[in-house]
Amino acid sequence: MDLGTIWFILWGVLWAVYFILDGFDLGLGTLLPFLAKTEDEKRTFYNAMGPFWDGNEVWLITAGGVTFAAFPATYAVMFSGLYSALMLLLFALIIRGVCFEFRSKVESPAWKKLWDTCLFIGSFAPALLLGVAFANIFKGIPIDQDHIFQGTLFTLLNPYGLAGGILFVLLFAHHGALWLAIKSEGSLRERAFAMAARLWPIMAGWIVLFLVFSMFATNLFSNYLRWPLLLAILLIPVGGLVMTKVYAAKARAWAAWAASAAVIGGTALFGVMGIFPALLPSSLSPAFSMTIENSASSPLTLSIMLGVALVFVPVVIAYQIWNFRTFRHPVTKDDLEYEEAY
């Protein structure tokens, strides 16, 4: 397997991990206005994400950074082409990022409501925008022979793009609900499971709809038709979809969440492998797509970066797992009284 292909796979995996991790806190933020009734419950949301959200978000920085490092021309075309969408995403993430630190700092209901609103927008909008962006990547965007994007933000808001946006919102909301089930107690925990159960059929239905839509709107299935064995990858999201319902029904929150992670990760990988070897297909002509071949960095860079990744990523995973294990317990009343709590 050549370096370009190895990096393509790592690139896909990085996006999948990012969606699995930031997916639950973006989902949780989206659910805030629907599930949190009291001030304590709202604070539980913030503290459920507290130790993790920043470390989760760095997977986005890394996915972007790796796109830059391994496929710089793709990074350049993607980020400049999808300018408006990425700026909206950026601003949403910015206003989300400050909520955690700011909300508890002033004892005013209006102040807290402002940051709750910002958390909601800063969670819902990124989910929607990421879904729109990736659906458009799966579909192909109008890049011409000079690799210049011949469209606007509204080009991206086509039916398939919007379907992708809704897909991500549903996936993340469901994922966030299960995280809340892990990190809460009593009535809030019950409502979290209930929300997951309510979302499940809508999410499952939408996944099917999206897959069918993909058959008509994209070339995603062509790789799978050529190498049918690759369809095995669908076992991951489908298996996850079934098991998350099974575990949630048994109130096994961690297992249900892990299965939900498989749904998200599997869906991302399915899409990424569908566009291989392109990273940014062109809807104008396959000859204009950004591919491994026309956008990869030099072999020297790819090999050094591989060495860096093989050394550091396992270490990162190890200490992030340690973080999750240290703070695996539900957020209790005592936790809310902790001096440094959000």
């Binding site: 507290g50 130790p51 959200w53 920043d54 470390g55 978000e57 760095v58 986005l60 920085i61 890394t62 972007g64 950074g65 790796v66 830059f68 490092a69 391994a70 710089p72 021309a73 990074y75 350049a76 075309v77 993607m78 980020f79 400049s80 300018y83 408006s84 990425l86 700026m87 950026l90 601003f91 910015i94 206003i95 990022g97 400050v98 630190e101 700011f102 700092k105 002033v106 000079d146 210049i148 960095s297 030099s298 020297l300 860079t301 050094i304 970066m305 860096v308 990744a309 550091f312 990523v313 990162v316 200490y319 992030q320 973080n323 240290t326 703070f327 902790y338 001096e339 440094e340 709590a341």
Partner: protein, 432 residues
């Protein structure tokens, strides 16, 4: 206003705002870690309160550093796509390493530190904030190695229409970049020291929590005193490198027009760019510029007229930024020495304490001025000698950039104002 100008303004604005918050993160993380270590070693609860008090201010500041940082990674691609394509082989790798090696470490362990006071054993908890301090200072290495490549490109070969990596070793041992790094982080330590001194001074003037804030003031003082000398001395040697490697920048920094030897330095000077001369030139110290730039009074210092007009940086901005930075740097040395002399009886020096409150913004201005010199002085190059800024911008509509620039100005100024409001609010509180 075209895409180029708007993108330049946007990048400059976004970076300046980011750099309001980063230096305090770099320096205060070390101070807080030190305070918590003193607590773990001595069991003295005052040190624990110090770690929590200054830690809270650290966190308020850190939040803005994080969110404004995401913008910068995006911006290379959004607004400087041609640059990204040209140097991504090298520049992109450095950014990816910054994220993998440092950002993950910093963002994960800050979460553990914030939430883990009661959950972790004391030593492990203290270790967490040391890791955050280390990770923050490590992330600066990678981004400054990246900027260093823009200033002094090394370890590359032009192939396939782009700069490709030829020697990773050369890129990461780029002396110019390491010099910039030391100058930046040590300058950040001065800023952190002044922040702690200024806030402490506010409390000491009101005779509140005297022991707590005297200890804090002295810690900030020690940190800033050493750092302000180091940054000046090391800054001088970095200036020598600039003279050698970026002669046009050096000429602009000093508004020096005519190449010559035994070049004097004018304490009072003002550029007249249109006429390629200085409108004011007074109090000249003979041979001083040659000595400062090359440690040799007979050394030839290239003047701006040696460079084609399109190869010269904006002179007035570079020149004024440099003078501002040096002037404020000198002021900070004076203030820290004064503080050192008065350290045993701060309360008897209310004038000094009041001055130190007003001095909090001084290092902030100095650091921004320094970056203005580095970046404006590098123009018209985005990669010195290899790629011009005007050839680096994304082929996108100016209207898009106008909108995003406006949004940055509004959102950033609002958030920065809120952050400063919260910093002031919690700085004034009495420690628990």
């Amino acid at each position: 206003m075209d895409t180029l100008m708007l993108s330049r303004l946007q990048f400059a604005f976004a970076t300046f705002i980011h750099f309001i918050f980063v230096p305090l993160t770099l320096g205060l993380s070390i101070l807080v870690a030190y305070m918590e270590t003193k607590y773990v070693r001595t069991g003295d609860e005052t040190y624990k309160k110090m770690a929590k008090f200054w830690g809270k201010l650290f966190l308020i500041n850190f939040a803005l550093g994080v969110v404004t940082g995401i913008t910068l990674e995006f911006q290379f691609g959004t607004n400087w796509s041609r640059y990204s394509m040209y140097v991504g082989d090298i520049f992109g790798s450095l950014l990816a390493i910054e994220a993998t090696a440092a950002f993950f470490l910093e963002s994960t362990f800050i979460g553990v530190w914030v939430f883990g006071w009661k959950k972790l054993p004391k030593k492990l908890h203290a270790a967490c904030i040391w890791i955050v301090a280390f990770a923050a200072n490590l992330s600066a290495v990678w981004i400054i190695l990246a900027n260093g490549f823009m200033q002094n490109p090394v370890g590359y070969v032009i192939r396939n229409g782009r700069a490709e990596l030829d020697s990773f070793f050369a890129v990461i041992t780029n002396g110019f970049a390491w010099s910039q790094y030391i100058h930046t982080v040590v300058g950040s330590y001065v800023l952190a020291g002044f922040f702690v001194m200024g806030v402490s001074a506010w409390h000491l003037l009101r005779k509140q929590n005297i022991d707590f804030f005297t200890r804090s003031f002295r810690m900030g003082l020690g940190f800033a005193l050493v750092a302000s000398f180091v940054v000046a001395i090391q800054g001088h040697s970095h200036g020598n490198e600039v003279a050698r490697i970026q002669p046009a920048k050096l000429a602009a920094m000093e508004s020096h027009w005519e190449t010559g030897t035994h070049v004097p330095m004018y304490l009072l000077s003002f550029p007249d760019e249109k006429n390629e001369r200085n409108s004011v030139e007074a109090i000249g110290i003979p041979s001083m510029l040659s000595i400062l730039a090359f440690s040799d009074p007979a050394a030839e210092v290239k003047g701006l007229k040696d460079f084609a007009p399109e190869d010269r940086p904006p002179v007035a901005l570079t020149f004024l930024s440099f003078r501002l930075m040096v002037g404020l740097g000198t002021l900070m040395i004076i203030l820290t020495v004064w503080g050192f002399l008065k350290r045993k009886n701060l309360l008897d020096n209310p004038g000094y304490l009041k001055l130190m409150i007003w001095a909090i913004p001084v290092p902030y201005l100095a650091l921004q001025a320094g970056w203005a010199v580095a970046e404006v002085g590098r123009q018209p190059w985005i990669v010195h000698g290899l790629m011009r800024t005007k050839d680096a911008v994304s082929p996108i509509a100016a209207s898009q950039v106008a909108v995003s620039l406006a949004a940055f100005v509004v959102v950033y100024l609002l958030l920065a104002a809120l952050d400063i409001y919260l910093l002031a609010k919690f700085a004034r509180k009495s420690p628990a």
